[in-house]
Amino acid sequence: MSQINLGTYAQNTWCPGCGNFAILSAIKMALTELNSEGLPLENIVLVSGIGCHAKIVDYLNVNSFYSIHGRVVPVAEGIKLANSSVKVIGFAGDGDAYGEGLEHLIFAAKRNIDITMIIHNNRVYGLTTGQYTPTSPLGFKGRSTPEGTKESPINPLELMLASGASFLARGTSRHTELLKDIFKKAILHKGFSLVDILQVCFTYFNLYEYYDKRVYNLENHNPKDYSQALNKIREWDYNADSPIALGLLYEKDAPSFEERFITPDQKSVNRDLKIEEFLKSSI
């Protein structure tokens, strides 16, 4: 495999022990492999939101769109609809994707638009120094909820399944090799794909040990079977203690939005003549 340099001159400012390093390594490995398998790097666009996760686009020497908080998805959709031959990979945090920008995520899944969303789900706001997120467990004590949260987390994968996503997977920031494989599959999947990564925030919510005790790799699981997928997705509700499945949970073949969306042939119309013709008909 040819070695390509995917790094930039930006100084990495993630905390030591941050789970984002594993995601960065895994995406570098995935892009390198995809490139050697024939995907030109210039055909890839990375989109990120705002938060610790989002710095990833500064650390990758690939086309990128460093968006605003909660707004990774609509940007990614716009890029895909502008040129469907481009691979669009969105990175978002759990606050970004499941909080402020949730409406976009649901609609993108509903449309089954061919973009890949990689969620750095550390279940805490890091960059704003430790508040609860939509996936923090009930009773989480953050700086905005010192007495503990009074609301249960959402199960984002269950929500995405209900919304029409056609590829759902889970990884953690401990298992780089697994992440790389999932990333490659998600990027190559035609339709909306989402990878929820239990990424550990070493500073504000260190769950390394918690996850180590509970995660297991999916085996003998048929991701094409909706009810099997639903069962596995419901096995852990992001709150109660239970086994946490890693790997490809759900996958289906379905038409994607950009396929159904008629893309006009921009060359074939003389617009000046069309305007003139329209004006004539408006007398």
Binding site: F65, G78, L81, F278, K280, S282
Partner: protein
């Protein structure tokens, strides 16, 4: 009759809007100029809806308090508008449902049993509108074949029933006045929203994205309906936030893109607007004004968002704002909003309103200078690609995804020339200066345009100052009273020098605006100009010519 007006009214669902289009087109085809004002409440069925169709030998774009014809399909139309009749007026009415109580005996009446005809012909209630149109054209001596030709264009289905019902109305009526046709060539009749859409297409629009909101939804509808015709992508996403961010995705890819909304939707777009400023992403945003605050009067008109669009979005960045006052300006400046946005990589805002957007006017494309689509500066491949290369004009050459050897990085954080995040103080100043420098070059280019217009008696020392849709009423009144009119069309960057030239010799400057606080007066004050008087109207309705005349006369005397 050279100049006359027709008011047609009924419940929402009676097809009043359609009927006003048909009447407008019929009059247009007799070589007259036409203006249609539409008044409708925010509901789907019921309520009171009316349109005023004014027709004249010369172009008109304002309505009058008096009308020569009322076509009343229900009692409300008579009750609410009978004071608009004068002794030379005619009322044509559904004699089965309207009682003309308290009507001056001088006024001519024409009874048409509309409800009975609808029943006898066994057609839908909505065709009452075509029945009364039939009676109207007979009453003013317009040939039947003109109606036939307009029906052919306006009615896709039920053409035969419509013609049959119209003929019944025609036969019930008698000729009261003979309208002599004018020999002028007929001009296209368009709404402001249609002219705006065509202007965007002319300026190279490839993608239009919007979430429905009055009064700009008709742009979304028109472009969606004509997506194949003009080769466009038209998308209606989940929210206005989705709209603008999706548009910025298109913009990043080099597609010329516009979005449409009103004040409330624009509130949701402001974070994206600021990003367009920081990311240097071209985008055209149409803001159709209506009375606020908040939901306000959704189906009426206002000029309340001038300072909102001037100041919207956090931080300081270059933007272009234009407020066209008629169809020709709307078409021309919509195309140029696309061009300037693309050339300077900035957001352009087109400020319109319900009166201009949903009003119907004659459009004279022949009166406009040629418009060419402008293309952005491209990367020359001589040095490694930097999305935010610092140049003299502040505009960085573009490479678009996918380009081999070019890494294209856009960033909402302050960034270096390559597009990587920076918090370094010198770099911050360098990039802020780069972005703001574009305004100087944009202003310089705008010197070649008529950014401030002057009409009427240019030697008058009394001037009416107006912007946007008040142009029509101000110009007609100024011509009548011998006053001068000054209309800034571009509002940002403010054309200070041209404005100074325009106000030269003015002793009394009267600012006419459709808002409660005098937003244009406030703006020009920032540039050292004072108005002497303000004429403000903020009930959601446009000034009629007579109404404005009364208020101006009070000041001028």
């Amino acid at each position: 009759m050279n100049d006359f007006s027709v008011l047609i009214g009924g419940k929402a669902g009676f097809g009043i809007d359609k009927a006003s289009n048909v009447i407008g087109r019929i009059l247009n085809q007799t070589g007259r100029r036409v203006y249609i004002y539409r008044d409708y409440p925010s509901l789907i069925r019921g309520g009171h809806t009316f349109s005023i169709i004014r027709s004249s030998k010369n172009k008109v774009s304002t309505h009058l308090n008096k009308v020569e014809y009322i076509l009343a399909l229900n009692q409300d139309t008579f009750n609410l508008h009978k004071d608009k009749l004068s002794n030379s007026s005619v009322i044509i009415y559904d004699s089965d449902s309207v009682k003309l109580e308290g009507l001056s005996p001088e006024i001519k009446t024409l009874a048409v049993p509309v409800t009975r005809i609808i029943k006898e012909e066994n057609v839908s209630e909505i065709m009452g509108n075509t029945c009364i149109i039939g009676a109207f054209i007979k009453a003013c001596g317009i040939e039947w074949k003109v109606l036939e030709s307009v029906f052919g264009k306006e009615f896709v289905k039920d053409m035969d029933s419509n013609l049959k019902v119209a003929l019944r109305g025609y036969n019930e009526a008698s000729e009261l006045i003979k309208l002599e046709p004018f020999s002028e060539n007929s001009l296209p009749l368009l709404t402001g929203n249609q002219a705006l859409s065509l202007g965007l297409v002319k300026g190279g629009l490839k993608t239009f994205i919007a979430y429905p909101m009055t009064p700009t939804s008709p742009i979304l509808h028109f472009l969606a309906e004509h997506a194949d015709y003009f080769n466009l992508k038209v998308i209606h996403p989940e929210s206005e936030i989705g709209v603008i961010l999706m548009a910025l995705g298109f913009s990043y890819m080099g597609e010329k893109v516009a979005v449409g909304t009103s004040g409330g939707g624009f509130c949701l777009m402001t974070e994206g607007l600021s990003f367009a400023g920081m990311g240097e992403l071209p985008i055209v945003i149409i803001v159709g004004q209506r009375p606020g605050p908040s939901t306000g009067l959704p189906t009426y008109s206002a000029q309340t968002e001038l300072h909102f669009v001037l100041n919207a979005g956090q931080g300081e960045f270059t933007r272009f704002i234009v407020a066209p006052g008629d169809l020709e300006e709307t078409y021309f400046w919509s195309a140029w909003a696309m061009n300037l946005s693309s050339k300077y990589q900035i957001p352009s805002i087109i400020l319109t309103d319900k009166n201009l957007g949903e009003g119907t006017f004659n459009f004279d494309a022949g009166s406009l200078p040629e418009i060419k689509e402008e293309m952005p500066v491209s990367w020359n491949r001589e040095s490694p690609y930097k999305r935010y290369q610092n140049t003299e004009s502040g505009v960085s050459p573009l490479a678009l995804v996918p380009t081999k050897d070019a890494i294209i990085k856009v960033n909402s954080y302050e960034h270096d020339e390559f597009g990587l995040t920076t918090e370094e103080p010198n770099q911050t100043v360098l990039m802020q200066d780069k972005r703001l420098r574009k305004e100087k070059y944009l202003s310089r280019e705008l010197d070649n345009f008529e950014t401030v217009k002057v009409y009427g008696n240019i030697n008058s020392s009394t001037s009416l100052l107006c912007w946007g849709s008040n142009k029509g009423v101000c110009v007609e009144l100024a011509e009548r009273l011998g006053l001068k009119v000054i209309q800034p069309v571009v509002l940002c960057p403010f054309p200070t020098r041209k404005f100074q030239d325009a106000v030269k010799g003015t002793k009394k400057l009267i600012c006419v605006e459709s808002n409660a606080t005098g937003q244009l007066a406030l703006l020009i004050k920032m540039f050292g100009f004072d108005v002497n008087e303000q004429v403000l109207k903020y009930d959601g309705r446009p000034f009629s010519l007579d109404e404005l005349e009364k208020r101006i006369e009070g000041i001028v005397k």
